[in-house]
């Protein structure tokens, strides 16, 4: 018993396997996309000073309980953070730097919507410390952009991308595929085009009909026809892996492709199950404090968050995670990435052995590979990830 407690204390630094990052959520967009279930809102009046102060207050509060950390990466996500004033972004980065040290070449990403890009702004973000842009291009033909409810055209997106690239070395973009009426050939062509544009990183998401979105309403009512059946979607995924790999972008996560070394460091913190501070409306975090790992969640509605955050209490939920919770989260996140998980780490978190019958079963089916304490999914396994995790979950 005592020994176990001691062991647990020693292992309290489990998060260090994944590192520490900060996520800042900006909850506003110019228009709400019909497929999107992110915490994003359209608002005409935003008092950006107030918002900045709220973010700063939250950072100050967090700093007090997270001393001595190194911030490996920062991510401005949304919503549409490219709607933030560069000064706001700069001030937040400055405050982060004030509280915590960062490596020499920090990764500070900002999500951008091609509809809200100006060269001047990008310069400002770079001056403020942003080092990487992730842009929501979504599709490379205007008909589909329209169907996705996007506010920009392909040309505008390409221009925006060029502007970003003239300022930033690292620019990634997102595409949504497996769209209505998209054939395998259509997608191959589009992806090849994307790969010509791409620098070192792409996020390629299959369209998901998320509950509570306009798309979901239409889908339930029998609208939104021509979505690919399971087999076509699977073929599209296979083709995506193949073409990306040929272009030197390796699938390092279910939907993310990068040149070696160009992976999103911030997102890897999630998938390696490190610690992350999440601030802003609806932001989630995982924080290890005094050997206990907590799941945190901020108020979701922008104004509720703002009111509370100004008083340094934007966090709404803080739940201590049990060993089993952590093990399961580690499985869920870790099996998404190609590098996989360390079963010793997993078993230490769970305090129990992994299900070896399930492992054998999944190995026989060619869905996972194992060598020593290293376990990873194969590309087929990644395509069936929910079922794979379902077999292994504690």
């Amino acid at each position: 018993m005592h020994l176990q407690n001691w062991l647990r204390a020693a292992l309290s630094a489990d998060w260090q396997n994944g590192g520490f990052g900060i996520y800042v959520h900006w909850p506003f967009c110019q228009a709400k996309c019909p497929y999107c279930d992110f915490n994003s809102h359209v608002s005409r009046e935003i008092d950006e000073r107030r918002w900045l102060n709220a973010y700063l207050a939250e950072l100050d509060r967090a700093a007090a309980e997270l001393p001595g950390r190194v911030v490996n990466a920062v991510f401005f996500g949304g919503g549409t953070p490219s709607l933030m004033h560069p000064d706001t972004v700069a001030a937040i980065i400055e405050r982060i730097r004030k509280h915590w040290p960062m490596p020499n070449d920090p990764e500070i990403t900002l999500e951008a919507n091609p509809g809200s890009v100006e060269a001047g702004r990008f310069r400002g973000y770079a001056d403020g410390g942003v080092t990487r842009i992730s842009m929501g291009v979504q599709a490379l033909n205007d008909r589909d952009l329209k169907r996705l409810g996007r506010i920009h055209t392909v040309d505008e997106a390409k221009k925006a991308f060029e502007i970003a690239h003239s300022t930033f070395e690292r620019v990634s973009f997102d595409l949504i595929y497996a769209r209505q009426d998209q054939t395998l050939e259509d997608w191959k062509k589009e992806l090849n085009e994307a790969l010509c544009l791409a620098i070192d990183h792409l996020s390629l998401y299959q369209l998901t009909i998320e509950k509570g979105t306009a798309f979901s309403d239409r889908y339930e009512k029998g609208g939104l026809t021509g979505l690919p059946v399971e087999d076509l979607a699977a073929d599209m995924y296979d083709v995506t892996n193949e073409l990306c790999e040929r272009a030197g972008l390796f699938g390092y996560e279910v939907s993310n492709y990068a040149k070696v070394g160009a992976e999103s460091r911030h997102n890897l913190i999630y998938w390696r199950y490190g610690d992350y501070l999440g601030i802003g409306p609806g932001a989630h975090g995982r924080l290890t404090i005094d050997g206990v790992k907590y799941a945190t969640e901020h108020f979701k509605m922008p104004n509720a968050w703002l009111e509370n955050a100004e008083r340094g209490r934007g966090e709404k939920i803080r739940d201590a995670l049990s060993g089993t919770d952590q093990a399961n989260e580690y499985l869920i996140m870790g099996l998404r990435i190609t590098e996989g998980i360390d079963t010793t780490r997993l078993e230490n978190l769970a305090g129990a052995k992994i299900d070896t019958t399930a492992l054998t079963h999944l190995t026989d089916l060619g869905l996972i590979e194992q060598s020593g304490s290293h376990l990873r999914t194969t590309p087929q396994g990644r395509l069936l990830l929910n079922s794979v995790i379902g077999e292994l979950i504690y």
């Binding site: 399971e230 279910v254 999630y270 609806g282 989260e329 869920i332 395509l383 079922s387 379902g390």
Partner: protein, 629 residues
């Protein structure tokens, strides 16, 4: 094709009886004089309006205040109210001041129309002297109209015909009256035209009850002789026994004896239903009411039994009723094996109240521990299953329903087979027999062809085919196992709901029957085994594996699904492997959501049975057997 009157072809050209109404008032009555009592049941085809007519009789006589009325108020069980059908017969006592100025006591029994509960009808008939035969005047005579009116005739009832639903535009009283005469052989000149909905004709109905139905007979001074008509369990009072007094007087506080087993009980309460319980001190001859006597279990009472006084009782037992026999068997298993004891408890409790439902423990390789249960029919099965799931909150897997086969062994013995999984080694089997039924179907001409085809496909042998107007009546000899499952559904669908159907058990006949097994991922699933006729095996096997292919979700691996007789595969399908099951985006906040989802999924999975690592959803066990053609 021959065309002749139904009444003749039924071979039951029934006499129309007019019973002597002149019951002599032999005694001075303290309670209700015999000649002021009328006891009757209301019988009809399902949905023709029996319960609604009962409502109106109750309301018109002021038995229940208008503001306390609700539709089909005698259908008090949840299942009855939900499905809009009557399952249990119900008794009500009504006081009626007739046009002749006299006060009468009317005891009404509302009966169920569905064939599964025909037993309720036949025993109710034994407690009364007359019947109101309700026929929906927009529909006409249907299969259960026939079945039920014959029960009434067998019980020597005086019958008053009611043409109901005359408020409907499709109502056609002349045509339906003619049908009653032609098909049933009852004089319908005095049939009363009623709308149980609007109340039209209700007064005439009450007058006809008083004038046309006979008063009961009985001797007040003779030793007590009472018929145990029904019994059910009440959480507060224990078993409530519905009795009809034939002779003598039953009083509160007396000691009574059941003639069947000699058991003696002390009567705590006596009363009548109006329709709520109302206690009184005594019941005299001709009266219908209840008693309670601290009886714990419905099984301790036998419907049809004779009740008398412990001392100076009668020795002369009533003929009794034939007990209701379960005809359909299936396995009930808890989805979550940890709930087995809860299921046992639920079944015990339900059986307290339903003597027609039988059960014994069963174990299945695939499903673990459960119960093999016997039912009066498929509706009865559904009702019990619903009640377990709802009232006891236990999720169930219901296995393929089976009838009882007779297995004649080479050593000359006979075994009853209730479960295909228990099929003995064929080398010891000489031959097998299956139960047959006589099915009566009434159907409009234009659908006759489809009905004949359906019966023929189900190995039926035509026994009769006659016409009345534009409707045909077909009588088929059919194997029960072809009917029990989805025959009625099919019949309804091929006739767009215009056919009606009734059946009687006819005994056993030898046939070439085999056990068909289903293998999922090369593992036999005993809960999916069925007995089939050899000639139909390929067809059924193919239908089942195709169905299962749709019912079982894709897995991470491909799954062969086979039907086999012995070692021989007769049908095969392959369910291809699932290819995509992944969440496209998963970042910081999604871990929580995802974890909850997967954990829930895992809990569900633990509950789901695993068959050689294949999850067969519970609805598959029944759906796989439903045939589309």
């Amino acid at each position: 094709m021959r065309r002749q009157s139904f009444a003749k072809t039924m071979g039951k050209a029934r006499r129309i009886r007019h019973l002597d109404q002149g019951v002599k008032p032999t005694h001075i009555q303290l309670m209700t004089e015999l000649n002021k009592i009328r006891n009757f049941s209301i019988v009809a085809h399902i949905d023709h309006g029996k319960s609604t007519l009962a409502d109106r009789l109750i309301q018109e006589t002021g038995t229940v205040k208008d503001r306390d009325m609700q539709e089909q108020m005698l259908d008090s069980m949840d299942i009855e109210r939900e499905r809009g059908i009557t399952i249990k017969a119900n008794t009500v006592r009504i006081d009626y001041k007739a046009d002749d100025g006299e006060n009468y006591v009317l005891n009404l029994i509302d009966t169920p129309g569905h064939v599964d509960f025909a037993y309720e009808v036949s025993r109710s008939m034994r407690a009364v002297e007359g019947s109101l035969l309700v026929v929906d005047s927009s529909q006409g005579v249907e299969a259960q109209t026939l079945a039920n009116v014959y029960h009434a005739m067998d019980a020597d009832h005086e019958i008053v015909s009611i043409l109901n639903k005359i408020d409907l535009p499709a109502s056609d009283c002349d045509r339906v009256a003619e049908q009653i005469e032609d098909v049933i052989g009852l004089d319908a000149t005095d049939a009363i035209q009623v709308s149980a909905k609007t109340g039209q004709g209700i007064h005439e109905t009450l007058e006809a009850i008083v004038k046309k139905l006979p008063a009961p007979k009985g001797e007040r001074n003779a030793p007590l002789k009472a018929m145990l008509v029904d019994s059910w369990y009440d959480a507060y009072l224990g078993v409530i026994v519905l009795v009809r007094i034939i002779d003598g007087v039953l009083k509160k506080g007396e000691r009574i004896k059941m003639l069947s087993n000699g058991s003696v009980h002390h009567v705590d309460r006596i009363g009548v239903f109006k329709p709520q319980r109302e206690e009184i001190d005594e019941l005299g001859p001709g009266e219908i009411g209840f008693l309670t006597a601290s009886i714990k279990q419905v099984r301790d009472t036998r419907v049809g039994d004779t009740i008398t006084h412990e001392k100076k009782g009668t020795e002369d037992a009533l003929p009794g009723f034939k007990p209701a026999q379960p005809v359909v068997f299936c396995g009930l298993f808890p989805v979550d094996s940890a709930e087995f004891e809860d299921l046992r408890d639920a079944i015990d409790k339900l059986a307290l109240n339903d003597a027609s439902f039988s059960f014994e423990m069963e174990t299945s390789a695939a499903l673990g521990f459960g119960f093999r249960c016997g039912f009066l029919g498929l509706l009865h099965l559904e009702v019990i299953r619903d009640r377990i799931e709802r009232e006891y909150d236990i999720e169930l897997i219901t296995t393929a329903p089976s009838v009882i086969y007779h297995i004649h062994m080479k050593d000359g013995t006979m075994q009853e087979l209730h479960n295909p999984a228990d099929m003995p080694d064929l080398t010891f089997v000489d031959h097998m027999q299956e139960p047959r039924i006589k099915a009566t179907i009434l159907v409009p001409d234009e659908y006759l062809g489809d009905v004949l085809k359906l019966c023929q496909d189900r190995r039926g042998i035509q026994e009769d085919l006659t016409y009345a107007g534009t409707r045909a009546m077909v009588v088929y000899d059919l194997p029960l196992n072809e009917v029990v499952f989805d025959f009625y559904d099919r019949l309804k669908s091929v006739t767009k709901g215009y056919a009606s159907f009734d059946y009687q058990m006819m005994g056993y006949r030898q046939d070439f029957l085999v056990k068909m097994s289903i293998l999922v991922n090369d593992e036999p699933v005993d809960a999916l085994s069925t007995m089939v006729h050899r000639d139909r095996a390929e067809m059924r096997g193919r239908a089942m594996v195709e169905k299962l292919k749709d019912l079982i979700p894709r897995h991470m691996f491909k799954i062969p699904i086979q039907a086999a007789i012995g070692g021989k595969v007769i049908a095969r399908e392959t369910l291809s492997a699932m290819r995509k099951d992944v969440t496209a985006k998963c970042y910081g906040g999604d871990a929580t959501r995802k974890k909850k989802l997967l954990e829930k999924q895992k809990a569900g999975k633990k509950k789901m049975r695993q068959f050689g690592k294949v999850d067969i959803p519970q609805e598959a066990f029944i759906s796989a057997l439903k045939m589309d053609g």
